[in-house]
């Protein structure tokens, strides 16, 4: 602009130093870095486990990699938070923490996972499978609930209660507000996922630590004549053992939470949870996208519908391929009719627009004991899909008149 030259220069104001920003940054870096750690080091861990299972224990080399991992996240976040995004995110997190409804979600998830320990008694075999199934399903389901609920209400509240008026009047870009909201939501949802995972790991490790075989070894000892004999005061011994098992399992679970495959938890399970984190990242972005211009009820419906369509994404693609094959067969060498051509391409388009949550779901592979392969492209896809959805939200939000 040519008239820029005539604009008066404003004197420089004192602003906060990087020291004021370091705390929110560090919190972010640690949570995100550690959450995605198993995803990043999965192959490496699996190769190591294949060569030498004992080498899986934590080593200095691994520590160096963890620091690198957190460091990368830190640098990326520092670039993001240079504006006001971090403070808006932390305030969003604070709002969520002081909102009671999320505690209900958490409560139900934990009750369900604890109950899985009881349900497995009813199963004839494969008790671990039931615990894994219930655990992973409830983490993804309640995580989805939290993402949809929090994602929509926390953005909508700011618009409805007009707190956005004062935010916009502060030296904050609109995109910074929206991204701040998004990252605050993501932080909230990841904390919820982390708490649910902790209880899931706890049940899982406790099951392994107190399996019948282990208990047998504790309660029966081999006497001098080589016969199995029950120890003295078996009730007390069992009680003490179970108490110790709880403490041990808790320790292992905390380790698992930070991405270490200790106890009964395999790296695969950690990868599955990291992938749930990626799926929720997409769902939260979709929720923020819709609530940036629509009413909460509509946003919730759209978000849940897109989520469901997303889990069926590969079926949509297969449906398109099926349509194509049928059309070719029916045309019998002649040109495919326009109607069929449009139908096929609509199906392909739908598969392209709808998020591909299928490729980020390894729950069934884990349940069937298959080898878990995370296609690196899927991880990249999750980040780019999120980015595109957020970009769309920002574009709509940028020129919007607030009610």
């Amino acid at each position: 602009m040519s008239d820029n030259a005539t604009l008066p220069t404003l004197e420089k104001l004192e602003v906060a130093s990087w020291r004021d920003k370091i705390f929110p940054l560090a919190l972010w870096a640690i949570i995100l870095g550690l959450l995605f750690r198993p995803l990043l080091w999965n192959d490496w861990l699996q190769i190591k486990a294949a060569i030498n299972p004992a080498a899986l224990s934590y080593s200095w080399k691994l520590l160096g990699m963890d620091i690198l991992c957190v460091g990368i996240v830190f640098v990326v976040l520092y670039w993001l938070i240079l504006g006001r995004i971090g403070f808006i995110a932390l305030n969003t997190f604070r709002e969520a923490v002081r909102n009671r409804i999320l505690y209900f979600i958490l409560f139900f998830a934990i009750v369900l996972m604890m109950a899985s320990g009881v349900v497995k008694e009813l199963a004839i075999s494969a008790s671990t499978r039931i615990v894994t199934d219930i655990g992973l399903t409830s983490i993804s389901f309640f995580g989805l609930m939290a993402a949809v609920f929090a994602g929509i209400s926390l953005v909508y509240n700011e618009l409805e209660r007009k707190t956005i008026y004062t935010i916009v009047s502060k030296p904050v870009h609109r995109y910074q507000f929206l991204l701040g909201k998004y990252f605050g939501l993501l932080l909230t949802i990841y904390v919820i996922v982390a708490i649910m995972s902790l209880f899931f790991f706890l049940v899982f490790n406790y099951q392994a630590n107190t399996s019948d075989e282990v208990l047998e070894k504790v309660l029966y000892a081999t006497n001098t004549s080589g016969q199995m004999q029950m120890v003295d005061h078996p009730g007390l011994v069992k009680a003490v053992f179970l108490l110790k098992a709880v403490v041990k399992s808790f320790g292992q679970s905390v380790g698992n939470l930070f991405g270490f495959a200790t106890g009964a938890v395999s790296p695969n399970l950690l990868v599955a949870i990291a992938l749930i984190g990626l799926r929720l990242m997409i769902v939260t972005a979709i929720a923020v996208f819709f609530s940036s211009f629509s009413t909460p009820a509509l946003s919730a419906v759209f978000t849940v519908m897109l989520f469901m369509a997303g889990t069926l994404n590969e079926d949509i693609l297969r449906f398109g391929m099926h349509l194509r094959e049928t059309a070719i067969k029916e045309a019998a060498g002649a040109a495919i009719p326009l109607a069929a051509y449009i139908k096929v391409n609509l199906a392909y388009l739908a598969a392209l627009v709808v998020p591909n949550l299928d490729s980020l779901d390894v729950n069934s592979e884990i349940l069937h004991g298959d080898k878990v392969n995370v296609w690196r492209f899927s991880v990249l896809y999750a980040f780019s899909y999120t980015g595109i959805v957020l970009l769309g939200a920002i574009l709509i939000f940028r020129k919007r008149n607030f009610k």
Binding site: R84, F87, N99, Y165, S169, P171, N401
Partner: protein, 324 residues
């Protein structure tokens, strides 16, 4: 220097079927158009208190929303501190209090101000000192650690005023700062606005309570149905000429009263007193003489100059008739 300047600012709201408005994205089905602001141009000089006055729906809030970047103008432009709207460097130097403010009810008063201070990028130590200072100024020191959920309407208004002053702004924009306050609170807000002027800040505020504006404004702009009716200094807008004399007398017989009533333009009878309104000074003096002669008592004589309220009613009525 002109702190605020608008050039033909206009705003047309287009409501779509969902009852929402998304700026550029509009559903053209069954649209309802409302002209909220028509070709508004005015400027605010540095260091003055400028009042945007008008009845509800006059376009005061719309003007302020456009200046703050909450809404976008349909036509026309505006500058703040000589810069185009939306400039972050300018926003650092502006304080804003919206109409009927409502803030995060899960935060405590102190946390709320801290959060907003962080958005200004203020260093922690300076921010905390400033918060103490402002809580003292608006009289909320006792409620700093209470959640905003429990704040009354007046307290909300006060904490809103505090947040608008966090960054030591050069320009303060207040939308209906005195609404929802009791007379004492109104006086306190008035004093704060005057103090802001003393400190060399520019204040732009909107109000429909004209008596409050009358006391403190250097200049006012009067809006009606989105149009600028008049703008100028208070003493230029209001005629300084005394236009009526109000005489209150008592203790007169009814037949003696008739003589007084002859020259009066209006008579109001209370229990033992009568208020007589004269348009000429001579008539009033004559009436006083007559009243004393007949043994009546003079309670008061008040010469009246035009108030903003009367000016407003006169002009808005005229404007309304012109349009009707």
């Amino acid at each position: 220097m002109k702190v605020v300047e608008t050039f033909g600012l206009s705003k047309t709201y287009v409501q779509d079927v969902l009852g929402t408005e998304y700026g550029r994205i509009k559903f053209r089905l069954r649209n309802r158009k409302v002209d909220a602001l028509k070709d508004l141009s005015f400027s605010v000089e540095q260091g003055e208190i400028f009042g945007l006055l008008g009845p509800n729906g006059a376009g005061k809030t719309t003007t302020i929303k456009i200046l703050m970047g909450i809404h976008f103008a349909s036509r026309g432009t505006a500058t703040l501190m000589g810069r185009p709207l939306g400039d972050l460097e300018v926003k650092r130097r502006i304080g804003f209090l919206p109409e009927n403010p409502y803030f995060y009810d899960y935060l405590k008063g102190y946390e709320f101000l801290q959060y907003y201070g962080q958005l200004y990028g203020m260093p922690k130590r300076r921010l905390n000192a400033r918060i103490e200072e402002l809580l003292d100024l608006v009289g909320l020191s006792h409620a700093a650690n209470l959640p905003l959920k429990g704040y009354s309407k007046g307290m909300n208004q006060r904490i809103g005023l505090a947040q608008s002053l966090l960054n030591d702004p050069q320009l303060v924009i207040l939308d209906e700062p005195q609404s929802g306050l009791d007379p004492l609170g109104r006086k306190e807000v008035r004093d704060i606005i005057l103090k802001l002027k003393e400190e060399g800040r520019t204040v732009l505020f909107s109000s429909h309570i004209l008596s409050d504006a009358e006391m403190i404004c250097d200049r006012v702009a009067i809006l009606f149905k989105g149009e600028l009716i008049n703008i100028g200094r208070m003493n230029e807008l209001l005629s300084a000429k005394t236009y009526q004399y109000e005489l209150i007398v008592s203790g007169l017989q009814a037949d003696k009263m008739d003589a007084l009533k002859k020259g009066a333009s209006k008579v109001l009878d209370a229990n033992h007193e009568s208020m007589l309104i004269y348009t000429e000074e001579a008539q009033a003096q004559e009436a006083i003489r007559t009243a004393i002669q007949h043994g009546g008592a003079i309670r008061s004589l008040t010469p009246r100059t035009e108030t903003l309220e009367e000016y407003f009613i006169r002009n808005v009525k005229k404007g309304g008739e012109k349009r009707a």
